[in-house]
Symmetry: C2
Subunit: 79 residues, 2 copies
DNA sequence: CCACATTTGTCCGTATGTATC
DNA sequence: AGATACATACGGACAAATGTG
């Protein structure tokens, strides 16, 4: 049984939080350091989460400001 | 002008190579070490490329074997 | 305008694990 | 058993953007 990687699990969790409305589009997510603390991983792992979520357009990053949730309507989806 | 990151440029180039037919679905891509050599970056950067391309389903990775191109018809796309 | 702290952005090197050949 | 190759995670270094004082 191939267990899912931490960075995929964390990314999926964030996706679920936005889809459920727990996190609203435009909301600022915790900082890199805070997320590393929350999920018990390094900031490097959180960066992989961000690369994944950015490719899917689930988040937008603004250097020096923060990371923000987008509208699920704009997400990438299967063909 | 925001300069694009290396890992995004490399990922986009691989996407273009598949879309143009230069790389066919099912083709094996160069190994991590070879790609790092080809593009003049570290294997860590190539891993970021893979995280991005995997999220978009442009590649499939098979541990111990290699990395393979998928059919563009199965890629993620905008809504 | 300048100095500083905070935060994200990118890249690198390394260690360890797992799958394949 | 050994070599090769991908998979994941970590820590560090430096840059760039922002906000505050």
């Amino acid at each position: 049984m191939p267990s899912t990687a931490d960075y995929v699990k964390i990314a999926d969790q964030i996706v679920a939080d936005i889809q459920s409305g727990k996190v609203q589009p435009g909301d600022k997510l915790p900082s890199l350091a805070e997320m590393a603390e929350i999920y018990g991983v390094s900031t490097s792992t959180i960066q992989m989460v961000n690369v994944r979520l950015l490719a899917l357009r689930v988040i937008r990053r603004h250097q020096g400001k923060g990371i923000y949730a987008t509208d699920p309507k704009t997400w990438m989806r299967e063909p």
